[in-house]
């Protein structure tokens, strides 16, 4: 009888330890994951549970040539706020899931396909260049409406969070500059400076669309 009780106790302690091991790396204390649904697709963001994991490959590099891969400032433009991972995850769970905002991967499609932040949409920085004669089509897909004077009205445009490869990547800053030039309101733009580098250095879930 007594032995059985001790055994039960041991088993309980063992199981508790096991479950503790399973949740060793949370996003924040008490928040092991983030789940949201975007257009019938459910995304779950967790962190890599291997406490020994290190970055390998492209994102382990520290010294890319500058130019063009130069360190980006904290503030891209007046009125455009810069955010970090927790603010981004909170936006994904609220405004982005509700369709009021969009997470935009400003990199070229091959980079986007190899791995992006869950829930991100690819709008390559090059398509927002003033040289693109069809740029207005993109702006309209983002919620801008043609005004009576031939310009665009951004009153109903979506809030956008832009990112690219990281603090050494100028593609999302370029996209933000071009959006501002096109008339996009600065208070509808956010910059995730950490980018894929910051995201992956924290072991956060990467969404892979294609093998490559």
């Amino acid at each position: 009888m007594r032995i059985r009780r001790v055994a039960a106790c041991c088993a309980a302690v063992f199981l508790a330890g096991l479950s503790a091991t399973a949740q060793e790396v949370a996003i924040t204390e008490g928040k092991p994951d983030a789940t949201f649904t975007l257009k019938d697709q459910t995304f779950r963001i967790t962190r890599n549970q291997d406490t020994e994991a290190v970055l390998t490959g492209e994102f382990a590099r520290t010294s890319r040539e500058c130019p063009p891969f130069c360190i980006q400032p904290m503030r891209i433009a007046d009125g455009v706020d810069t955010i970090a991972e927790l603010e981004l995850i909170a936006l994904l769970e609220t405004d982005i899931a509700a369709g009021r905002a969009l997470l935009i991967d400003s990199r070229l499609p091959d980079w986007y396909g190899q791995g992006t932040i869950p829930g991100a949409v690819n709008v390559p920085f090059s398509t927002l260049d003033p040289q693109n004669p069809y740029r207005d089509e993109i702006l309209q897909a983002l919620g801008a409406v043609p005004g009576p004077d031939g310009g665009l009205d951004f009153t109903g445009a979506l809030e956008l969070v832009l990112f690219c490869n990281g603090p050494w990547c100028s593609q999302s800053p370029q996209a933000i500059t071009n959006l501002l030039e096109a008339g996009y309101p600065a208070d509808k733009l956010l910059y995730y400076r950490g980018g894929m580098q910051g995201w992956q250095s924290l072991g956060l879930t990467v969404h892979v669309l294609q093998e490559g």
Partner: protein
């Protein structure tokens, strides 16, 4: 003698000073009641007896009003009109000419949902209804242009003429061509003029290292849109992006064509 010369010289000098400074003329002079400044010339012409008042001539011509333009091409529009009339089966919207942009727009629309249905009548239903009612080309031209000027409808960019009107002739021609292609009946329209005889077209032979090359230029005629020019020179308005791409430096967008503009016409 010297004294006389000196006196005359002083008199002449005094006279000159009097002429230049006019010390006895003042603003109290009834003939010069208006104080003339440079800024006031337009409103208060100089009171010169017998001279006609100067009327200020406009320095810049009135700006051409910009019409609301849409992403849809004229091809898509004429197809939509025919689909509306039941001549052809409705088709998917025409792709944007730039594949990268088209992909981005498709992805954004997938995530944000389909674009909201227009609350106002669009160009397609306006034209389809007029054709169904058997209205004349002139009526359709007036109807469409009134709606476009009021900003009620958006028009394809290649259909905006140099005067800022909607080129309904090119649109109606495209609808007839597409309808005849769909139904297999030959169009009863007059054939499009041959490029060689199009007024405004000039063909130049350019000497190059290896042989010669033919370069074509076209001067925009009154009332023409980029779609009309493409129709005239290539036989199909859908070729307009070719002309637009070749003339990007002088044309900010396909709806900004100007009369007298000399366009490079690339080989199709």
């Amino acid at each position: 003698m010297i004294r006389t010369v000196l006196a005359l010289f002083i008199f002449a000098l005094t006279l000159c000073v009097m002429i230049i400074y006019q010390p006895f003329s003042s603003t109290a002079d009834p003939d010069a009641g208006v104080e003339v400044t440079r800024a006031a010339t337009a409103e208060a012409p100089l009171a010169v007896p017998g001279a006609a008042p100067i009327t200020p001539a406009p320095i810049t011509p009135a700006p051409v009003p910009r019409l609301r333009t849409s992403a849809d091409s004229m091809d898509a529009l004429s197809g939509a009109v025919l689909a509306d009339l039941g001549v052809i089966a409705p088709s998917a919207p025409a792709p944007i000419a730039d594949p990268a942009t088209a992909q981005v727009v498709a992805e954004l629309q997938r995530v944000t949902g389909a674009p909201a249905a227009p609350a106002q009548p669009d160009l397609q239903s306006l034209v389809a209804q007029a054709l169904r009612d058997g209205q004349s080309d002139a009526y359709i031209d007036r109807l469409v242009n009134e709606a476009a000027r009021a900003g009620d409808i958006a028009v394809p960019r290649e259909l905006v003429t140099a005067e800022g009107r909607v080129d309904t002739a090119t649109l109606l021609a495209a609808i007839v061509t597409e309808a005849s292609a769909a139904t297999g009946v030959a169009p009863v329209l007059a054939p499009a003029p041959q490029p060689a005889e199009a007024p405004g077209l000039e063909v130049r032979v350019i000497q190059q290292n290896e042989g010669t090359r033919e370069a074509r230029f076209y001067t925009v005629q009154p009332g023409e849109s980029l779609g009309a020019i493409a129709h005239k020179l290539y036989g199909d308005a859908a070729f307009y992006p070719l002309i637009f791409e070749a003339n990007r430096q002088i044309m900010p967008s396909p709806d900004r064509v100007r009369v007298g503009q000399r366009l490079v016409i690339p080989a199709p």
